[in-house]
Amino acid sequence: MKSTEEILEILVQQFGEEHFTLGGGDIGEQWITISSALLADAAKFLRDDERTQLDFLMCLSGVHYPKEEELGVTYHTHSTVLRHKLTFKVRVPESKPNIPSLESVWKTADWHEREAYDMFGMTFDNHPNHTRILCPEDWEGHPLRKDYVQQDFYQGITTRE
């Protein structure tokens, strides 16, 4: 069992200080923000290193931060061997929303990333099947963005009541 701070220490040891920041709210859980350039390496390291062994990606959620004009992804992982959990995040600007895909690290990220793309419109680099999943392929916009405006018509049919 390791706390988020202890895992952060291991990461800093391995990759250097500048890529990680510890975050937390007034309530709830802490998280580590990882720079997008290092995300793929760090994730693989977290899965394989014997001190962390985060072999289970519980959840992957896209988030839109309209104030900062940023898109983000939150990853919730836990280790079935060592029984600790870790939340880490990555944030990228809306203008260049490229995030490395973690599909090759945890297979379950495949559909979760497609959903995040569908709902928020970030791009997951190296994703094997980067398509929408819940909305039709020709849908306009990304519904879970805070500034989303619903299209009036879809294939000639009204989307309003």
Binding site: D26, I27, G28, E29, L57, M58, K107, T108, R132, C135
Partner: protein, 379 residues
């Protein structure tokens, strides 16, 4: 006899659609099967037909407690379990201490719901494979649970029963006796079900060694619930990451063992569900004994829900596996973000990994054995 012309037959892959309207896809799901003869070489699931923007609604309802009825509508056959996860998360955010009586009632209804959901899953699974009778037996029993729920909450399927900090109303006065009666009468029915379906040779022939999911693949795909346990992994959130008052009860975690075929096949996933029902009965019995008779179930419900800034991920064990809610609060009246991590969504994504090389008829068994509910997949 092979003639010249036969040898020159051009072998081509064929693509056929299973669904979206198909009785054994358990809802509106389309599977695109790439076939070589009758053997599946690739399968692509297409989902989204039931997408109702749960997460967008949650951000716009202007009240944290108004999200609860929507959680019901995700996995509509185990609504109690869906509510349980969400209210637990909110209580953790607001740091509310919930009365004992509420905790006990929640556990009892959650376990009853687990049995009801498994009965539907098992019955429909048999039905998919041509066993019509067990389905009716299962539904007779499920009906008894729904009757108890109807008396308690007023609804048969979508209850809106749990509230942040308590329950919408107290249970009806015969709740304890009726539930105890159900436990007593239901136990022998499990044996009946085993005789009728579980160890039926035709059923075993259709499910053993089909759709094998190895442990490593299951973990990498983040499988959970009966699907993960069917592959022999002893992992149950009620024991391994206890929430509510589950740490007080004595129960076992059934896992698959490859009893009639290979470890992690369709039969293993099926039998885990059957055995889990017995364990749920054990929990219900203990909870009925421990449940306080008096107490106000609404005393801890806050008038206004306005959590501080912060976020958490809460996960609970539903009949289908790990249901997670990622809730982010920005101190306003409605959640900044609610993401539901639905077990069926994850399980369906590994369909291509376990069904290559199977026959079309096996596809029906595989989809049935992972027991998906499309309402939860599409949200």
């Amino acid at each position: 006899m092979i003639t010249d012309t036969d040898q020159n037959i051009e072998k081509k892959e064929m693509v056929i659609n299973m669904g979206p309207q198909h009785p054994s896809t358990h809802g509106v799901l389309r599977l695109e099967l790439v076939l070589n003869g009758e053997v599946i070489t690739n399968v692509k699931p297409f989902i989204g037909y039931l997408h109702r923007c749960f997460e967008k609604y949650a951000e716009e309802v202007k009240d944290y407690s108004k999200v609860i009825p929507y959680t019901d509508r995700m996995d509509y056959v185990s609504a109690m379990n869906q509510e349980h996860g969400y209210v637990l998360g909110m209580e953790r955010m607001l740091e509310i201490e919930v009365p004992e009586r509420v905790e006990y009632i929640r556990v009892i209804v959650a376990e009853l719901q687990r049995i009801a959901s498994h009965l539907l899953g098992i019955g429909a699974f048999g039905l998919d494979l041509g066993a019509f009778t067990p389905f009716l037996y299962c539904f007779t029993e499920r009906e008894k649970i729904l009757d108890i729920f109807e008396k308690t909450s007023g609804a048969r399927l979508l209850y809106n029963y749990m509230a942040v900090g308590g329950l919408m109303r107290d249970v009806h006065k015969d709740f304890k006796t009726e539930t105890a009666d159900f436990v007593k009468t239901f136990r022998p029915k499990i044996k009946e079900l085993n005789d009728l379906l579980s160890y039926n040779q035709i059923f075993i022939d259709r499910t053993a060694k089909i759709g094998v999911l190895p442990e490593k693949v299951a973990l990498n795909y983040a499988a959970s619930g009966p699907v993960l346990r069917g592959s022999g992994v002893k992992w149950d959130l009620r024991k391994d990451d206890p929430y509510s008052i589950y740490d007080r009860f004595d129960f076992d975690i059934p896992v698959g063992s490859g009893e009639v075929g290979t470890l992690g096949d369709c039969w293993d996933r099926y039998i885990v569900r059957v055995r889990e029902m017995e364990q749920s009965l054990r929990i219900i019995e203990q909870a009925l004994d421990g449940m306080p008779d008096e107490g106000d179930v609404m005393e801890a419900i806050p008038k206004r829900i306005r959590p501080n800034e912060g976020e958490l991920y809460v996960r609970t064990e539903t009949p289908r596996g790990e249901l997670g809610y990622y809730i982010v609060s920005d101190k306003s009246a409605n959640p900044f973000r609610v993401k539901a991590r639905a077990p069926s969504f994850v399980h369906l994504s590994m369909l291509p990994a376990i069904s290559n090389g199977a026959l079309i008829a096996d596809m029906v068994a595989i989809v049935g054995s992972i027991d998906i509910v499309l309402g939860e997949v599409d949200r």
